[in-house]
Amino acid sequence: MAKRIYYILLLTLFIPLVTVQIVAQQPSVYSIKRMPFNINGFSNINPVIVKDGIIFCSDRRFSGIEDVTGYNGKRLYNIYIAEKRDTSVYRKPRVLKSERSNKFNNGPFCIAPDGKTVYFTSEVETGKIAENKNFRNHSGIFIADLTGTDLISIRPFKYNDPAFDLGQPSISKDGKYLFFASDMPGGQGGSDLYFCEMVNGSWTTPVNLGPKVNSPESENYPYMHPSGKLYFTSNRPGGIGKLDVYFTTLTGGAWDDPFLLPEPINSTADDFAFVAEENLQKGYFSSNRGNEDDIYEFVSNIIRKAKCDSIQENNYCYRFIEENAVKYDTMPFRYEWKFGDGNNATGPVVEHCYDNPGTYTVQLDVVNLVTKEVTYNEKSETVVVTEIEQPYISAPDRVEVSQRISLNADSTNLPGWNISQYYWNFGDETIGVGKEIQKSYLRPGIYNIQLIISTPPSAGSGPKEACVSKNIIVFRKQ
């Protein structure tokens, strides 16, 4: 009986440890929350970050109890701004109205770098035919000027076509590239992503992003982040479920394989229309995980230190100088050094690298070349070879794309530290926890790895933390 209780106790003690370890190895990268300006029963999509708050699309009512509907009887999307009152509280959203607001959708949009020019999605046909409720009115991109809360001077994008859809624009930070989704002919299937370049004040012919980005399924909601990452939405196979958010980058003129963002940004529901602040620590996306389209905020849980020392390589190399001997070139003596680790060298100035840290007694024997006498141990010095006190990242300097590598912190030298956590930021928005960890990079580039080591608080002092970083070059095998 006593033995059984002992085993149960042992198991009770052991299970939490195992659980903790598993959890610690899979830390959550992002935390999310539903934005307060969503309204139940209505769709809220396509957030865009502006200085004063969030601009988004919604099919909510302008006021009262009456829906705003189009010719087909469906609720119309309009553009709204939710201004920030403080860091987390928003004022009641206000509509950015245009001449189309009451008849057509004012849908997914972006704002040019000048802060005034708005590219938005709306129906192409506005004539009599559009009033037929069975008419399939394709969407296009329209350009307007934002004045206060009014969208004025609306003009169509030159590549709009009543025969296909074109919309969900995103303009690059420098204003030179316009990305959008379209099911125009010649694509990979479904809706594809295209871009146009601004040349001499005019947008060039749309270019399909190609089969790496565009799948036979549909790609939508392109978002060109200032970092150069192109986020988009796809329902391609291999995702977490339905619509998912991916990103890709242009490397050497070619788009990389898209990378699926992790949970909880992606879910088994539709997740789409991703945007993020410049530092990627915070952003917004749309999802119907709550059964209707809502806007969610995500915050990165990834710890990345603004100040993180570069890793310093341990150096066990020393120069030994017989200072008086080097002053004269007519010294008939031979200086024989014994470095205390079994190695020797001869000369008034010698250099030696020790293999390991330790305390070494260096002995200088001197041979008088005139008398042939040897003065053993004429002088000795104690050399204490120490490791630099720092966290240490053991990892290769160069790896191939998708190559699985092992990183470890085994050579960390922090005497007296009761280390409770080894936290890795791999520089590609992924993290890991543990003293030794496996990792592979999906795209080429130079990644700055941070290793953050921390201790729990102890009596009389708070937790201690130390950070080192190391660059790793990820290349694609030619």
């Binding site: 008086n324 200088l364 002088k379």
Partner: protein, 344 residues
């Protein structure tokens, strides 16, 4: 059993006393500070001074046929002093015969004004044509080939220390001994001892002896190393070393606390070699050790040599028989610096 143990202990005690007595009589280094007046000095390990008769050849190792030595006696020493000359004759043992012993050597002791070489540079005896016999002659004697002085001491004195020329810097009275080869061509090998006793070598505490031009006999064996100890006075930044008629006999090493041994070029037969040696600021106020190592491949016998030193201004340096500041012992200085890991 106990009796036997006590007897053994007593024997051991007597042995220890005997050893101490033998060490004392043999001039063990604990007395070296007291026996500072033999010339050449004990630390110098030079067998003999040498002066040839004026008809000798310079190629035999004497460039000027005289040698001047100074003896300093502390001011507070007031008892009579004697300058004893070992083997003053030129003949019999030790001396170097050239044909037959026909050399006369004159030893003269000077005191009074004009002796102090710090005041009167002529007195140093290193400049040809100048009166190195300055001062008041207090005693003089000419020695020929005389068996009664052979291998024996002859004592000049007694001298009252105050008969010397007072030197304030050293707080001592200076006496000068001039040895001249006045005729003949043989080499007179001799030594001095400044003593408080006319018949025995009894050192005078704090006394010393020095010269500006050392004429001496090298050892006739491979192993013995002779030394001389020039004093590095304030203001010296470099010294010019001149050695004469070294017969290319081995090496001269200059040693100090900061020099493990600088190799100074040596002269050939009847030849003078000059070289410069820089002086470290830390060497000021101490002595250098000029070591004379014999050539190891072929034994050069009866090698008589001359050595002189000057500072950067051309002033001659003193060689003290008992080195000021003691025999300099080289102090190695190791500097350890961390350096970059070499690239592979």
């Amino acid at each position: 059993m106990l009796k036997l143990l006590i007897l053994n202990l007593m024997k051991l005690k007597n042995q220890v006393y005997k050893i101490i007595l033998i060490l004392c009589l043999s001039g063990f280094p604990i007395f070296s500070r007291l026996s500072a007046q033999p010339v050449p000095g004990k630390d110098e390990n030079i067998p003999f001074l040498v002066t040839f008769g004026k008809d000798g050849k310079t190629s035999w190792g004497d460039n000027d046929f005289y040698q001047v030595f100074f003896f300093s006696i502390p001011k507070d020493y007031t008892k009579p002093v004697y300058i004893r000359v070992f083997d003053p004759d030129c003949g019999g043992e030790w001396d170097e015969i050239q044909g037959e012993f026909d050399t006369k050597t004159k030893f003269s002791v000077y005191g009074g004004k004009g002796v102090d070489p710090d005041v009167n540079e002529e007195s140093r005896g290193i400049y040809k044509g100048l009166n190195y016999k300055s001062g008041t002659m207090l005693g003089s004697k000419i020695f020929g080939n005389e068996a009664k002085y052979d291998n024996k001491y002859y004592s000049f004195g007694p001298f009252n220390p105050s008969e010397g020329d007072f030197n304030a810097k050293w707080n001592s009275y200076m006496f000068k001994m001039v040895c001249e080869g006045i005729s003949g061509d043989d080499g007179n090998l001799y030594k001095y001892f400044l003593s408080s006793d006319p018949d025995n070598n009894v050192p005078i505490e704090g006394a010393n002896a020095f010269t500006y031009a050392y004429h001496f006999r090298m050892w006739n064996d491979f192993k013995s190393v002779a030394h001389i100890y020039p004093y590095i006075d304030t203001g010296i930044v470099s010294i010019k070393e001149k050695n004469f008629d070294w017969d290319n006999d081995g090496n001269i090493l200059v040693v100090s606390r900061y020099k493990q041994g600088i190799n100074v070029p040596v002269s050939n037969e009847d030849d003078e070699v000059i070289s410069n040696i820089s002086i470290e600021p830390q060497e000021i106020g101490s002595s250098l050790d000029f070591q004379f190592h014999k050539r190891q491949d072929e034994l050069v016998k009866n090698n008589n040599v001359v050595i002189k030193l000057e500072n950067q201004r051309g002033d001659a340096l003193k060689f003290f028989s008992s080195p000021i500041g003691g025999v300099p012992v080289y102090q190695p200085k190791i500097n350890v610096q961390q350096v970059k890991k070499p690239k592979k």
